[in-house]
Amino acid sequence: MTTQIQILSTPLEIQSAIYWIMSPESGGIDIFIGTVRNTTKGKAVIRLEFEAYEPMALAEMEKIVTQAEEKWPIQKALIHHRTGVLEIGEIPVLIAVSAAHRAAAFEACRYIIDTLKQTVPIWKKEIFEDGEVWVAAHP
């Protein structure tokens, strides 16, 4: 399988991800685009900041893609994740999967984003009008 896994400090490019993931062998591609929401639990969010432990985050993302390949017949997989300051509406994560048939692409794409959120060492800080908080840090 061909993969492209990157951590970037510059805006993620949807169109170039689509060009990369498409191939003549594919019957469909599935893309998940995460976007920065303007509220959390009813409270206005000003911006987010993302930090990554880059070598380990890349290794963990490689593992997830390998697991997805073992579970579903997928052809290509792409994960791009941002670091740094992100404003409302910007894209922290972009996942793309191609497969001969759509079911594999849908399921693998969902598996990749769901598992990424659980295991990949990347952290998000929410900045509010009156303070800031590392997401999920405390009970």
Binding site: M56, A59, K117, T119, V120, P121, I122, A136, H138
Partner: protein
């Protein structure tokens, strides 16, 4: 042996630094290191959870730490 521990996210705030140096007995385990860290930085124990990574892999409490290992504190992740 002297070791360096990298910190990310809230752990960096707790350490007040992206990395700290520690003196650790030879053949210490991940559990031993966690105990030492929580004594020096009690706020670590108040986190929802946290893991240690050794050489870019999640480590188990019984794993042995060696000099020059790259050790990192992994507070609850929140990417995506």
């Amino acid at each position: 042996m002297k070791i360096k521990v990298l910190a990310f996210g809230i752990a960096k705030d707790i350490f007040g630094s992206p990395a700290i140096g520690l003196e650790l007995a030879n053949d210490s385990t991940v559990y031993n290191l966690q105990y030492l860290l929580e004594q020096q930085y009690p706020r670590l124990g108040q986190l929802r959870s946290y893991m240690l990574a050794v050489n870019n892999e999640y480590a188990l409490p019984g794993d042995t730490i060696h000099e020059r290992d790259e050790i990192a504190i992994i507070p609850p992740v929140s990417g995506g």
